[in-house]
């Protein structure tokens, strides 16, 4: 058993030693502070109320520039909306459809099966409206950055009204502590009372940021709760099975000198 433990430790060491170094970010940007998120840990889950507040922030603020192309209205069931609410939310959007029998494109109210429409017709239009920068799609944002949720939170709360002295800030750019190079094309998107929460949660910049990060982590990993729930069952099963296999191994090998 001692040999076995050594083998297992060696394997674990091999993995962490290699990958820990691979993922680390370089440069002079500070490492975003680790935040407490409800979905962390073995038993972590999403907070539905927070996801809905985050959705409100996305809808009222971010959606002006950022698409969410992997999310359909029907997916909002995952953050606790019922069928009627989803229909109502979808109907608020105009969706281009067609061509109809006359060969024309037309707009109609959204249906649950539609995806969130992009705020811009194409990338050129997006760049033209944003000083040359294309606002990235947000569906996978928290998975597409190192320490994604912490980074997005740090970015949203990391603006400085004035660039530090001696820093040459280009026209139309803002200074952000956490953005690589510190010059970001996105003007500070959130501020205190950017949206009004109906559940009485204080509408601070920090709260807005926290909520929208939670929502974006859900859009990036909608399977997270199902994954962890199944994972616990699988690993519990494997522990019992492996313990039984070990007992069997001992029994079978009992009379063998080895």
């Amino acid at each position: 058993m001692r040999k076995f433990a050594l083998t297992a430790i060696a394997a674990a060491f091999a993995v962490t030693a290699f990958t820990g170094t691979a993922a680390r970010a370089a440069g002079d940007t500070p490492v975003p502070a680790a935040q407490d998120w409800s979905w962390q840990g073995l038993f972590g889950t999403y907070d539905r109320a927070q996801l809905q507040r985050g959705f409100q922030v996305y809808k009222n603020v971010c959606a002006g520039c950022h698409s969410l192309r992997f999310i359909a209205f029907r997916n909002l069931e995952g953050i606790g909306f019922n069928e009627d609410q989803i229909k109502a939310i979808a109907a608020e959007y105009d969706i281009e459809d067609g061509p109809n029998d006359d060969g024309d494109m037309f707009t109609r109210p959204g249906k649950p099966s539609d995806y969130f429409p992009s705020p811009f017709p194409n990338e050129k239009a997006a760049a033209a409206s944003n000083g040359g920068a294309i606002p990235p799609d947000l569906s996978l944002m928290t998975k597409a950055r190192v320490a994604g949720p912490d980074y997005v939170f740090a970015l949203l709360t990391g603006y400085e009204e004035e660039a530090p002295e001696g820093f040459d800030l280009s026209d139309g750019k803002s200074y952000n502590h956490y953005f690589p190079g510190h010059q970001i094309s996105m003007a500070p998107p959130l501020y205190d009372e950017a949206v009004e929460y109906s559940d009485g949660t204080p509408a601070t910049l920090e709260q807005h940021s926290r909520d929208v990060v939670a929502f974006l982590n859900w859009t990036a990993q909608p399977e997270l709760e199902a994954r962890k729930e199944l994972g616990l069952q699988v690993i519990l099963f494997l522990i019992v099975l492996t313990a039984m296999l070990y007992a069997l191994k001992r029994k079978i090998w009992r009379d063998i000198e080895h």
Partner: protein
Amino acid sequence: MSAPQWNNKVVKWVDDRLPVISMLHHSAYEYPTPKNLSYMWNFGSLAGFVLVTMILTGIFLVMNYTPHTSMAFESVERIMRDVNHGWLIRYIHMNGASMFFICVFIHIFRGLYYGSYKAPREMLWWIGILILLAMMATAFMGYVLPWGQMSFWGATVITNLFSAFPIIGDPLVTWLWGGFSVDNPTLNRFFSLHYLMPFVILGLVVLHVWALHSVRSNNPTGVEIKTPQDSIPFHPYYTIKDLFGLGVFLIFFCAFVFFAPDYLGHPDNYIPANPLVTPPHIVPEWYFLPFYAILRSIDFTILGIPAKLLGVLAMFASIVILFVIPWLDTSKVRSSKFRPVYKWFFWLFVIDTFILGYCGAKAPDDYFMGIPGLKVIVMGQLSTLYYFVHFLVVMPLVGKLERTKPLPASISESVLKEGANA
């Protein structure tokens, strides 16, 4: 080891016509295995298990994947979001690649430590190296398929290596790409080959096991099986031991799949491929990092040979050199257990590969582990040097000069002695 008599009429009928059941009985049941194998001997069967897992999950992924530059990324996200348990299948496949390399690297290091490459196991060892090469090609092409930023830029960097060869270099790269840049034809052929290669690996594994069963397993003493007392039948002794190992390994595997599925990957691969935006750091997957470090460490020319070509040659040489170690190792003793000097060099070599891996992950101008004045590139060069010195100098010299410890007369004798000491 005479052919077993089958009582069941159907079994006998089949076996008389095609002795497939006798063959299985012979190689998975009565196969005489050294009785003293440690848990280090579990990783071969574990690697086999991961291979089968990869093929099965891969077949299901293909049912929902679209190999086109405009749809590949989207189809992977569709698998993650809309296909029933698609996230599970993809995360198993994604992490399975890393698990495969973990098993195979441990398996190779075990072979190096116990001298499993020495006569009469050279062919067995060679086939193993071919499996490693085929795995590397397969893993590289598979990583391209989701068509994220790292997929695209990794493919661009690695295929560009072939341009280092004089005269044929550029036409070769164009031929590999199927065009003048990494594009849809590249994605299509990588997909085709990524589906083909696992079956090539499977064929090689059959040969590997065949070779193993004709020369028999090595063991921690490195002393061959001499009498029936030295061995035990594979079943039930090693079937149960392998199953227990599999249980432990699955817990490790599932911990990643369910609780840290993206830990071993790179976040940039969740950004769709964009030929106009180069990521600040292009790094390969962790299992390629030591080789990547060797490639990058050659930043000088020798005899007019450009640095890039030397780097490529060094990288390939780092694996090809494994083919000749049965002759580079001059020691008469297989197992490092009885080689007091070489044993230390072995561990130095293991540490060296870890340092290479670290260097591969870092930018060349970073400081090695934050040590002022020690650049990653320099450390990478020193480690690359030691990598080859180990094989070309240490192995032949230590084998000749070392005074080895006395070998046990037989496996069973060593087992009894250890039992008495415990």
